[in-house]
Structure formats: structure tokens, C-alpha cells
Amino acid sequence: MTEFLTKYAYLIVPIVKIAILVFIVLTVDAYLTWIERKVIAHIQARWGPHRVGPHGLLQPLADGVKFIFKEDPLPAHVDKVAYFLAPFITLMLALTSLAVIPFGPQKFTVFGYETHVGIADVNISLLVLFAITALGVYGIALAGWGSNSKYSLLGGLRSSAQMISYELTLTLSVVGVLLIAGDFSLRNIVEQQASPARGLLTWNIFPQIIGFACFYIAAIAETNRVPFDLPEAESELVAGFHTEYASMKFAMFFIAEYTSMIAVSCLATILFFGGWLSPFPASWAFTHYLPSLLLIPFGLWIIYDGIRYENLFGRIVLPGVGTALTVVGGALVLLPVLNDAVQGPFWFFAKVFTFLFVYIWMRGTLPRFRYDQLMSFGWKFLLPVSIANVVLTSVVILWRMH
Amino acid sequence: MVPTSYYLILSAILFGLGIVAFVFKRNIITIFMAIELMLNAVNLAFVAFSQSLGKSDGEVFVLFVIVVAAAEAAVGLGIIILTARNRRSLNVERVDLLKL
């Protein structure tokens, strides 16, 4: 058994990792929808979902079930290939983009197979990421064109144009970081930002503030999120490119969208905010206990909050979860090894979550662009600025050299 | 280890297919794609050579080819749009007059 594992570790470990990652991501996606609805609801002074489970926590589950069991009608005269291919492409690419993202610093060995947090560690991971995002257009374009409906077609057209336009900015805005790091590997980019002495002061965000601005805006456009969600502008084209899609196919688009949001947030974190690095100097030892400091109160609060419910949740589930979290928090305090192992991922996910929140926040705040505004903004403002950023950065670097 | 000749033969096959497409497709856009296909075949040969000779020049050439292809696509598609707009047809056999 063991030798079998050791023999085929190079196959098994990645598969397992993939499985875990996919599970996590899908769950996060699901609950991201919940978070989004809640946040926006509160921004708009509503309650948001609160029927299914406490705080509507089971809403995503219900949605998933609904998606699965809904009828999947096939519109007339659709181009079957494109129509079926589109959602798969989109979802596949979105998930693949996560494969090259490193989530933590550690290397660990399973059955004599050395691996690390994150699936693939390619030394051109950034390029790969961009390659994947570049292909992302097709899903939407095909969906729009394949489903033989003018709304879809318009949505598809818009999104392909929009994505081509903002991809340039997306790529160019990163060049600054690349110049500083001198490497395509995300891992190395993060490492290069590390400095135990000075904490967050050496993150790329400070030299590359312009680059970050361009990057984030372009990224939002790439993911077709508000305020760049013209491809699916419900007030103009019913639902844009996925008007004609229902049930699981629609779900795929949905998942893909949230996944790409996560991917982009990860990317932003890694490129500009020092990935898994702690913002504090290493010397501040107490900061190591932040995770537990967050977990324990949270767990306790869950127990306290859960008691109210006069049912299964209130009696068993929530208290269980709460105690579990508290225990984990305690464990972290007690076992330094575990604590250290958690540090990286903790910071990473903290940052990613922040970005995701900003996404949602924007959606709740900003109005949608008009199409021509979108284009002129992308071409006439964003692109020049990012180019200027590249020039500036290279000049500074040269000046530093001499 | 894959022998270089495999890559070259593959590129030859792709090139031939590109030629066939170039001759036998009627749709301007598809013909254009055929040209791109041929370019890709050539790129493959370039990379194969540069790898087997241990010189990176070939890959630089590939980059140039890609850039030129991009420029070509921009202009070519512009022309195609214009043609389609004026002739109401993408069939090259129907677009056989210099003046409308």
C-alpha cells in the first residue's frame, strides 16, 4: 500500500490536492454568493437571505439544489457545439487559473514526494495565468454567439471587445512588478517582496501604486463585474451572454465568475500585497497569534449566537462549529508548529477576502458604465497610464542600477 | 526524447493542410485563418530547429512572426469588414471585381 503510494505519489498527490482545492473553491464560491447578497442587502438597508438556515446560511445549498434539479431547455436553432462548449470552457479556464497560484510558503513531503501549498509551481506561472485569462473570452463569446439570440450576441460582442481592450492594460500594469521582481514565478515575486525587518513597507504596492490601480480596474473589467458588467447588463440585455442558459450551465457561468474573482484577488494579493507575507515585522512576535485571536472569539460568538435557535442548528451544529473553531484557535496557541504552518495561508486568505469584499462593495456602490465610456476609459486613459507606469518604473530601475 | 524530424514533419503536414485550406475555403475569413495556420506550422519548425541547434534565434523569429501576424490580422480583418460591408458577401468567388 505505502510503496504503491510512494511509487505513484507524483500522480496521486496532485490529484488529491486538486480535489481539495476544487472543493474549497466551490464552497467559497457558494458562500461568496451568500456574502455578496448579505453585504449588498445591508448596503441597501435590507436583510438579504435569512430564511434558509440561520442568517440564510443554507441559502447557497438551496440554490445549488435548485440549479441541479431545474429543467434545462435547449433554445431553437442554437449552434449546439458552441452552446454546450461555452460554459465548460469558462468554468474550466476559471478553475485552471487557480492551479498556478501558490497559497503558502511551505514545502512539505508526502510519501517522499515533495510538494507545496498550491497545485503547480511553474516558473512562468504569471504568463500561464495570463494565457488562461486570455482564453477566457471564448467562453463568453461562444455563449453569446451560440445561443442564437440577439441579447446574447450583443453581450458576447461586448464582452469580447471589452476583454480584448482591458487585457492589454491588465498585462501592462503587471510589467512594472515584473521589472522589479525580474521573474515570472509568482512564488519568487512574493519572496522578493519579503523583508522580515520591515514588514509591509517592501510590498510592491508602494512603488507600484499606479500599476495596482490599473491592474485592479482592468481585472474587474476582465471578470465582467460591476461597474464593467456590460456583457450581462440586465437592464439592457436581459442577462447578456447567458440569457439563454438555465440550470447547471447557468450555474457554471456563475461559478466561473466567482472563481475568476477569487483568482484575480489572489493575483492582486501576490503581485502587490506580498502574498502570504505578514504585514508586520517578524520581530513583533505577538502578531503570530492573530489567527487564534480571531478564531477563539469567533467560535465563542458562534456558540452564543447559535443558542437562540430552537432547533437542530441551535442545539448541535452551531455550538459544535463554534467549539471546533475555539479548539482550533486554542490548538494554534498551544502548538507553535501548527501556528507557523497556518501563518502564510492565514494572511493570504485574509488579503484575498479583503479584495473579494471590495468587489462586492463596489457592486453595491458604483453605477454601470456606458459602453462608449467603457471603451474610451480603457483605451484613452487606462492603457496610457499603465504604459507610463512601465516607462517610469524602468527609468527608476535603470537609475538605481547606475 | 522526441526526434526533431517528428516536429518538422508535423509542421510540414500542418503547412500542407494550411495550403489545402487556403485553396479550398471560399470564406475570406477562413482563408485568412488558413494563412495563420501556415504561419503556425512555420513557427513550429522554427522552434524545433532552434531547440535542436541549441540556439534561441529561432524562438526570436517566432516572436517576430507572431507580431507580424497580429499586425496582419488587424489590417486584414479591417479589409474584410470593408469588403463584407460593400459586397454583402464573404465568398471570395463572388468578390471578383475591382470596382463595384
Binding site: - | 518538422l8 526570436v60 489590417v75
Partner: protein, 166 residues
């Protein structure tokens, strides 16, 4: 039958079949999709050969920009299935043999010449992007600048061509 060989054959077959489907597909957008597949397969082959940067650029530029442009134009012009007209007798009769002749020529030339070539480095040793960029900005700097100029011209040309004369 080493792993790389298997990968090669998979990708090669994928490319060839996609190319064939480019020919047989009647709808431009299907041809475009086939072509994209070819390109991705080629990118895989580049990776296999260790030309990582080229592979990435292949996908980003070809797959992500050029082909998107094609698809975009196809959608914009709302191209329908191509009609199989045969006005050109020449192409109808002389086309196949000539194409085969050229292909055969190339194949024969390769077969006769490439026997001596050494096998390429497997994906173990990648041409680092640094060497590539060094070449690009030292030996090939003039062509490089020239291409940038070419692109500028192309942009202008495209704009002039595609804009509706009012």
C-alpha cells in the same frame, strides 16, 4: 515509448485533426475554434520542447488576441455557412494535386535533410526568458523596433479601413 513521446503524439494528432476540421467545417466559427485548438496544441508542443515563453506568447497573442479578433469579426459580420461555389475551375481541378505536390516537396526535403539534426532538449532545460530577451534587445533590436513601428502602422491602417466613412 517515453512519456514525452506520448504527449507529443497526443498533441500532434490533436493539432492535425483540428487542422483537418478547420478545412471540413463549413461554418467559419467552427473553423476558428479548430484553429484555436491547433494553436493550443502547438503551445503544448512548445512547452514540450522547452520553449516556455514562446508557448505562453503563442496562447496569449494568438489564442487570446488574434483569434478573438477573428471570432469577433465573424460574430460582427454574422457570417453564415460558406456556400460551396466552384467558379474557379482551376482550383477545382488543379488545386488538390498542386497542394499535395508542395506538401510532398516539403516533407521530402525535411525527410532527406533532417536526419542529421540532434533531438531537441526535453522540457527539462527551458530556454530562460532572460536569454530570449537579451537576444531580442541586443542582436535583434532593430527588427524589434521595426516590428513596433509595423504594429503602429497596422493600427492606423485598421482604423482607417474599418471606420465608416460618414
Amino acid at each position: 515509448m517515453s512519456g514525452s513521446l506520448i504527449i507529443f503524439f497526443v498533441l500532434a494528432l490533436l493539432a492535425v485533426f483540428a487542422a483537418i476540421s478547420l478545412i471540413v467545417q463549413r461554418h467559419p466559427i467552427h473553423s476558428a475554434l479548430s484553429l484555436i485548438v491547433v494553436m493550443i496544441a502547438l503551445a503544448g508542443l512548445y512547452l514540450l520542447m522547452g520553449a516556455e515563453f514562446v508557448a505562453a506568447v503563442q496562447i496569449i497573442v494568438y489564442g487570446g488576441a488574434i483569434m478573438v479578433l477573428f471570432v469577433f469579426v465573424i460574430m460582427l459580420l454574422n457570417a453564415e455557412e460558406e456556400e460551396r461555389t466552384n467558379f474557379s475551375k482551376l482550383a477545382t481541378y488543379a488545386g488538390i494535386p498542386l497542394a499535395l505536390a508542395v506538401a510532398g516537396f516539403i516533407a521530402a526535403a525535411i525527410a532527406s535533410s533532417s536526419g542529421s539534426l540532434p533531438a531537441p532538449e526535453s522540457s527539462g532545460a527551458l530556454t530562460s526568458t532572460k536569454t530570449l530577451s537579451n537576444l531580442l534587445f541586443s542582436d535583434f533590436v532593430y527588427p524589434f523596433e521595426l516590428t513596433s513601428f509595423l504594429i503602429l502602422v497596422a493600427i492606423l491602417g485598421a482604423i482607417v479601413l474599418a471606420q465608416r466613412e460618414t
